[in-house]
């Protein structure tokens, strides 16, 4: 059986001006899995995540070398259609950041910028997206309420729903629980496990237990390098690198 990879970095380097932030990364991410990226802060996890949907393009002075393949196409090329790429590879941010609009308008934002106007189609998208993040039953009567009135956890779920509304294949999450309390964190983790049935999830986390709980594979980054990338179980029980062992046992970080 061949393994179905969706994202693949080959000899990937990234520079912020002179600063070499990602060093010769090689990794492959399997479809319909949760992959965790762990490592001390400043080691390049967010940078790598943002490389997957070219969000680093917004930062002046960023240069890359090597390649990242998404479904076989090198997405680091100039010619890549960024709108399409970002529709396929979506991202959820650290802090819940709903727009100060109604719940409905938050979710329809993406489909609408892509030109969807029919209200019955949009209604369907709203229902479907909210169902996928477990908010439909709670909020179906309140779709016109302002999203800022929701709790932090609901806001983060809404942000995920807003992303799912544009039908991505990959969901990138950058420390999505860092603004949430422990119980909300656990529930978002359940959601991640739920999501991987339809999507591929890549999650950056500070929280080692979180990586252990949700991910199938884990990569440890350190000073811009990918030190080790393997099955999560292996990373946490018998890592092959000393740094990994020290990190997962909490000796530094």
């Amino acid at each position: 059986m061949t393994v179905d990879y969706t994202l693949k970095a080959e000899g990937f380097n990234l520079f912020y001006g002179e600063f070499h932030a990602l060093k010769n990364l090689n990794l492959s991410i399997k479809r319909n899995t949760v992959t965790a990226l762990i490592g001390p802060s400043g080691c390049g996890k967010s940078t790598l995540l943002r490389s997957f949907n070219r969000m680093n393009d917004l930062i002046p002075g960023v240069k890359t070398e090597g390649a990242i393949f998404f479904d076989g196409e090198d997405i680091t090329k100039e010619t890549v259609n960024l709108v399409r790429l970002r529709q396929k590879i979506g991202m959820v941010f650290q802090r819940p950041n709903p727009f100060p609009l109604s719940i409905r308008d938050n979710i329809t934002f993406g489909p609408r910028v892509m030109g969807e106007k029919k209200s019955d189609v949009l209604d369907e998208i709203v229902e479907d997206s909210l169902k996928r993040v477990g908010l439909w039953e709670v909020l179906k009567e309140d779709l016109n309420r302002n999203a800022l009135a929701l709790s932090d956890e609901q806001q983060q779920r809404l942000c995920i729903a807003r992303l799912l509304a544009v039908k991505p294949e990959i969901v990138l999450m950058d420390e999505p629980c860092s603004a949430l309390d422990p119980i909300a964190t656990l529930r978002i983790e359940e959601l991640m496990l739920e999501l991987k049935r339809r999507y591929t999830v890549v999650v950056v986390t500070h929280n080692m237990q979180q990586a252990a709980r949700v991910s199938d594979e884990t990569g440890l980054m350190y000073l811009g390098e990918l030190v080790e990338f393997d099955k999560t179980k292996k990373i946490f029980t018998s890592p092959s690198q000393k740094i990994t062992e020290d990190y997962v046992t909490g000796k530094f970080g």
Binding site: N97, F99, P100, V113, C159, R162
Partner: protein
């Protein structure tokens, strides 16, 4: 003096300063109202001036003022907000933004009498618009442009970067982000700038007298001359035509500024409320 004492003295000074400012404001308003209000009647507002303003009302000057403000805002808002969008969303901080910003600062510092003269020479004479709502509107637009640019820029910058990032993630173009997220969220701030400008424009005389002229007829076409309330007040008072009517005009002016401020405050409140 102990630090504690010094602090008390400083606070005392600051409080009296604040009271002084308030007191002066109230004094001015009181004088104008006491001297002006008794002469304000429905006829004063709805009749045209007669005998140079000695008799009759101020209707044509109200029309001129509103007309002038509308024309200047129609010019200044798109230009100012557009500039602000360009500076904040479409350029890197650098030489160009510095030059444009420096230019706006300079423009803000130009004395209005000079601006009036400039408008007179360029629009009234060279371009042949004559004393007209058009000449006055453009000149006034130039005067308020820096305010609109600066307040819009601040308002746009205060829109969270996360909104732009999410827009990008969801496949929105920059322009879609600007029109769907940045501008709606910056609107209250932009409105504040517009109101400030209206306040400045409504009371401006130097620019207006040179460019709109002083005709007491009601302007219809954009090429008609007119006389704004502020100019009317100035002429009535300076030439001693009628102090009663001068004060009454001033009272109407002050009243309108007050109403505009209260109304805009209310609007902004509504706007912010609606987004809660």
């Amino acid at each position: 003096m102990t630090p504690r004492r010094a602090e008390h003295v400083a606070i005392g000074l600051m409080v009296s300063g604040a009271f002084l400012a308030l007191a002066i404001l109230f004094f001015i308003i009181a004088v104008i109202m006491i001297k002006g209000l008794p002469h304000i009647t429905a006829r004063f507002l709805l009749d045209n001036p007669m005998d140079m303003g000695r008799a009759g009302g101020i209707f044509s000057t109200i029309v001129s003022t509103v007309y002038l403000l509308v024309v200047s805002l129609v010019i200044a808002i798109p230009l100012g907000v557009g500039t602000a969008i360009y500076l904040t969303e479409y350029t890197e901080e650098g030489k160009i933004t510095k030059i444009v910003r420096f230019g706006t600062e300079c423009l803000a510092g130009v004395p209005s009498i000079i601006l009036g003269l400039f408008g007179f020479i360029l629009f009234v004479i060279k371009l042949g618009f004559g004393w007209s709502v058009l000449s006055g509107g453009i000149s006034l637009a130039i005067m308020i442009l820096p305010v609109i640019i600066r307040t819009s820029e601040e308002a746009i910058k205060s829109v969270p970067q996360a909104f732009r990032d999410v827009n990008e993630v969801l496949g929105g173009s920059k322009w879609q982000g600007v029109t769907r997220l940045v501008l709606p969220n910056a609107a209250p701030g932009i409105l504040t700038g517009v109101i400030l400008s209206v306040g400045r424009g409504i009371g401006e005389t130097a620019v207006v007298i040179f460019t709109l002229g002083t005709s007491l007829r009601t302007p219809f076409s954009i090429f008609d001359s007119g006389r704004s309330m502020a100019v009317h007040f100035y002429i009535l008072a300076r030439e001693g035509i009628s102090m009663d009517n001068a004060y009454a005009t001033a009272a109407v002016l002050v009243f309108s500024i007050l109403i505009i401020n209260i109304f805009s405050y209310y609007l902004m409140h509504k706007f912010v409320e609606a987004r809660r």
